[in-house]
Symmetry: C2
């Protein structure tokens, strides 16, 4: 049980974390800090936080755990602001979608206190944002990837893992570099591709005609292009190197398919399509088996 | 009301068409013809068809309407087989996802009877196939695109339009060339892109690690890569020219994004992402308004 958890950011992720820990009886007191006074007031109304911290020092004082759940671009400035007030017994973690850049920012901001920072990434989300979107079961059965640092003590890592486990999440551990390579392939590239397709179509002179006939397949394919442009700009830039590698590999793949298509090579096209269908089918079956 | 409808192909599309017309009391008798004896027997058990035609001549004789709902690669051979038996009062239509190639095949197969063939494409589907997947409400509120020929009489076009309207569908008309350009952009290219991504990931040495962290965004983005490889090979080849044009435009778009990403040009990335998000949002809002 945590005596005090401090949330920096009281929206969907931070709010759901607090609500879930409270429901589990795993936290005595949650204090919130946010750039938005309206979000703080709403989070208090909703029972996400018990009190609003007026200063960063107030937020951090005597906290067992600090969760950063603000936009990832604010990570370094938040960490820098709380560093002077960080007691040795406090562990800090974050929720950013990229990790190598967060680790670099944390090293700059925290200096010799870096061992108190355990980087994390909960793989969960919803279409909506803000305190009103927070729910007490967002993380059940979802993965949380921790990318522990050499400087982290086992207790610090266990502290963060325990909080997420009590939220019903499943803990995975990767290095920050592995994490970023993996998510470049299965998340960041697909977002870029979906945005690229919708923008491409929207810029055509006959875009209205095209959108008129787009159906459910297009809707699913482009759902992730409904995500926040600012957030995905930041993720794309933060994970630029790995994303460029994945994009290059994908463009080579498209070039190969183009050759097959231009040559009318049915067997070559079918081989790619069939391999993809089978791989996706196997993947879905594995997911469904693990959820059972 | 149709006295006799002949189905070539008694699976999801043909079966749903028959069940819906029957429910609406719009057809007296449905006769089925299919390469698969098992499908025919099952379609009869399910009440999709009233009788199994032993020969093509039996299927077509005295039919008001013939619906081709077999794999599109069979279109020309089916049309060639029924052409000698086609009475002047019978109208023929199809359900193919591409139209220019179907029209060319129909011209070869039907010769001077081409005026009796009204090309069509119902924009509807389900995950599953075969007679057991057929339902009596697959087409409600869905679009059916007809691409009438200069040789079609108004009555022939009205006959096909009336059948689909009685299935609850909304009739749109395009030229075969327009149809193929539109669907290359909003359907055929996304399928190719989704297959390409899954195949690309599946072929990486660390594919298992990658798939382990793929989540709901990846699942939606790649849903269409679960489609039939044979069917999409045929569609890709049938609409090769338009698909190559769309693929080339998309690769240019990816090349531009690559430049922005490599240069760390946040505003350029955000402009594309934001334009895409807005266009998709407007599109969804239009769909939802039209469904209300």
């Amino acid at each position: 049980v945590f005596n005090k958890v401090a949330l920096f950011g009281v929206g969907l992720i931070g709010g759901s974390f607090a609500l879930t820990l409270k429901k589990a009886g795993a936290v005595a007191r949650v204090v919130g800090f946010d750039r938005s006074g309206a979000s703080l007031a709403r989070a208090r109304e909703l029972g996400i936080i018990d009190s609003i911290a007026v200063t960063v020092a107030d937020a951090v004082r005597d906290a067992d755990l600090v969760l950063l759940a603000a936009p990832v671009a604010q990570t370094e400035s938040i960490l820098a602001s709380l560093a002077p007030h960080l007691q040795a017994s406090t562990v800090v973690t974050d929720c950013g979608s990229t990790k190598a850049d967060v680790v670099a920012a944390a090293r700059r901001a925290l200096g010799e206190k870096i061992g108190q920072f355990v980087p994390g990434h909960p793989i969960a989300g919803r279409e909506s944002n803000g305190p009103d979107a927070a729910i007490d079961h967002l993380f059940g059965g979802k993965k949380v990837v921790l990318t522990p640092l050499a400087e982290n003590s086992a207790q610090a890592v266990d502290c963060v893992a325990s909080a997420w486990t009590q939220c019903g999440a499943i803990i995975h551990k990767l290095s920050a570099e592995q994490h970023d390579l993996v998510f470049a392939a299965v998340s960041h590239l697909p977002h870029l591709l979906a945005y690229a397709l919708v923008d491409d179509i929207a810029n055509k002179p006959h875009a209205d005609l095209l959108f008129q006939y787009a159906a459910s397949g297009f809707r699913d394919f482009t759902r992730i292009a409904g995500s926040s442009p600012e957030m995905w700009r930041d993720i794309s830039l933060a994970n630029r190197t790995a994303l460029l590698d994945e994009l290059d590999a994908y463009m080579v793949q498209l070039g190969r398919l183009r050759v097959s298509l231009a040559a009318g090579d049915g067997p070559a096209l079918e081989a790619v399509y069939a391999n993809a269908q089978k791989a996706r089918h196997d993947w879905i079956r594995t997911i469904e088996a693990s959820e059972r």
